[in-house]
Amino acid sequence: MNRTTTILIVLIAGLVLADFLLSPHDHVTVPWHYPGGLAAVGFVSCIVVAVLSKGLGKRLLQRPENYDE
């Protein structure tokens, strides 16, 4: 686990803590409004979108650059 990864994880932890301490969480109706919820959305959806896009590209959509020639 390299240095950038560590820095990012520490940053996320700090933000989640700040969110927990500073934001009002009384009218929460959806899971991602809880502290850390949006960090999880960001991380998980990033992985999912990256993997899905690549799969879609490889299988269906992408062609070599000289396709039109």
């Binding site: 500073l22 934001s23 959806v30 990033c46 990256a50 690549k54 879609l56």
Partner: protein
């Protein structure tokens, strides 16, 4: 009637620029936009310019807060784009840039649907010529595809307007477009807004223009369509889903894209998706969000395209697989790109945060949970593809041999600087923008919840990107989009009809030659007409088809 339409200086400057020597042409956009800005500042709510002509009451202008905020963005951007294009060698773009701006400002301030149509077609035609300024065969072909689709869209708008006229009024503040008329008008608007599946012209045509052309094109067409959507279709449920899906669609294609300008153009589709979704949600917050987002988007998308253009200008390459390690040689361009990238991602203190978030908050407020989540994911994807992927692979990352061949002109840097200033200023002082918005505005962007929520989303995305960065590198590929479904079939139809016409023309000629061997002059003029017709048969076929549809629609009324 002492109102002066802000487009008058733009139109006058366009004509003057056309007639001027090449060295003077570039002065006209910045100067004209300052005059237009002055006229804009004198506009008051309800200011009207109308004329009764050919049995119709034309409302060439009806100013309201919605139209004014869009017009302001267009006029300011014309100034910036004019500065950016100062170093462009091809002087004709000045005229087309000014005509585009005039068309867009006309559209958002128009009072009735037929006046709107005139401005609309001005926008379409000037865009076409701006695309064609790109010069190479790819630009010519892309321009043809662009104009055919946009003429079709414009025709739908007109047909809907004609139907609406027979039902009542075509004044934009009075009419309630519903039924077939409403559907036709909506299709026309969605084509210009770039809503899938009517969107493929955008990543096809815009990057085919020159770097200056793309910078100009990106601002006007889609955003003016959004303005009219806000005016006429707010609360339309279809738009909520169309917008949310569009936001994700653009992002997926942007993640796959290798060419930096095409990537940014797919992003236009994604960001307009946010606006369309806001229009559909229809609440005060959502509509203000759509307008604010459009305003902010014009500047940060312009900034991004300007910096991408600067890279292409300096290095001569536009593909991520061929860029990298340019942060040091192109320091300022990198800084401005980052400002644009963080603006579009919605980082607090920049204008994206005070605009895009309103729409997401509006979705949450209206308890549209699925929509809210889709828009959050689209925001993630925006940061991923521009803030992370584009910045990393173009400016940092692996060295692919890209070197600076020529320096970035000072005019480009100045233009990027002005756009950045607007992004930062509205981010730090959102009320500069909020007081111009159409609906009453009580949204507070800088709360702990909003700020920390956005920072967490971005940080989570960054972690995901960093872990996967090797896999996210692009390859030298192109991505097929929905236009592939109709490009080849359309070409086959046009070729087929053209072949039929050529054969008919030949028969006619042979027949006439047999009959009129002694009437040489008659034969000559007939031959001249048919051969001219043969050369343009493809365009003639399409125009004839479109005209026939128009005639049929009007007759049905």
């Amino acid at each position: 009637m002492n109102e002066v339409h802000p487009i008058l200086p733009l139109l006058a400057a366009a004509a003057l620029a056309w007639l001027s020597p090449a060295s003077l042409r570039r002065m006209f956009p910045p100067i004209a936009s300052l005059f237009a800005l002055f006229l804009w500042s004198r506009l008051e709510d309800g200011a009207t310019i109308s004329v009764s002509l050919v049995d119709h009451h034309w409302e060439l202008m009806r100013a309201d807060s919605l139209g004014r905020v869009f017009a302001l963005a267009f006029i300011l951007y014309t100034f910036i784009a004019g500065v950016y294009a100062w170093s462009e060698k091809n002087g004709r773009s000045a005229t087309f840039m000014l005509l585009q701006a005039a068309g867009a400002v006309g559209v958002v301030l128009a009072g009735d649907l037929f006046s709107l149509y005139i401005y609309w077609e001005l926008l379409t035609v000037s865009s076409l010529f701006l695309i064609w300024q790109g010069g190479d065969p790819r630009a010519l072909a892309a321009g043809m595809r662009y104009v055919l689709l946009h003429l079709l869209g414009g025709l739908c708008l007109l047909a809907g307007g004609v139907m609406l006229l027979s039902q009542g009024s075509v004044r934009l503040d009075e009419s309630d477009p519903s039924g077939l008329a409403g559907a036709l008008i909506l299709v026309g608007l969605l084509t210009n807004a770039g809503v899938p599946p009517l969107h493929a012209w955008l990543p096809d045509a815009y990057p085919s223009a020159s770097i200056f052309g793309t910078v100009v094109l990106a601002a006007y067409t889609t955003k003016s369509a959004v303005c009219i959507l806000i005016r006429a279709f707010s609360g339309e449920e279809l738009l909520v889903w169309a917008g949310a899906i569009m936001a994700l669609y653009g992002v997926v294609f942007a993640v796959l894209e290798n060419d930096i300008r095409r990537l940014l153009c797919y992003h236009i589709v994604s960001q307009v998706g946010f606006m369309v979704c806001g229009v559909g949600l229809g609440t005060d917050w959502a509509l203000n969000g759509a307008a604010a987002h459009a305003f902010a988007h014009i500047f940060y998308k312009g900034l991004l395209l300007m910096s991408a253009g600067a890279v292409v200008h300096a290095v001569g390459r536009s593909k991520l697989t061929e860029l990298g390690q340019l942060a040091r040689p192109l320091r300022w361009t990198f800084v401005f790109l980052l400002i644009g990238a963080f603006s579009i991602a919605g980082l607090p203190l920049l204008n994206g945060f005070i605009s895009k978030s309103i729409i997401i908050a509006a979705a949450g407020e209206a308890h549209r949970t699925a929509i809210e989540l889709m828009l959050e994911i689209a925001s993630m994807g925006t940061f991923l593809s521009i803030g992370l992927k584009l910045s990393w692979f173009a400016f940092l990352g692996d060295d692919n041999g890209a070197t600076v061949q020529r320096p970035v002109p000072a005019s480009m840097t100045a233009a990027m600087g002005i756009a950045s200033l607007i992004c930062v200023a509205t981010g730090l002082a959102p009320n500069l923008l909020y007081r111009l918005l159409p609906a009453p505005m009580d949204y507070e962007p800088y709360t702990a919840q909003h700020v920390l929520g956005m920072l967490q989303l971005l940080a989570g995305t960054a972690l995901g990107f960093w872990i996967l960065r090797k896999k996210l590198g692009t390859h030298p590929t192109i991505t097929l989009d929905v236009d592939r479904l109709y490009r080849r079939p359309t070409q086959l139809v046009v070729d087929g009809l053209g072949a039929i016409l050529e054969t008919a023309g030949r028969w006619t000629e042979d027949g006439l030659a047999a009959v009129g061997k002694s009437n040489w002059h008659v034969l000559q003029s007939v031959q001249a007409t048919t051969s001219r017709f043969r050369l343009n048969s493809q365009v003639a076929i399409v125009l004839a088809t479109i005209t026939s549809i128009a005639v049929i629609v009007i007759c049905f009324n």
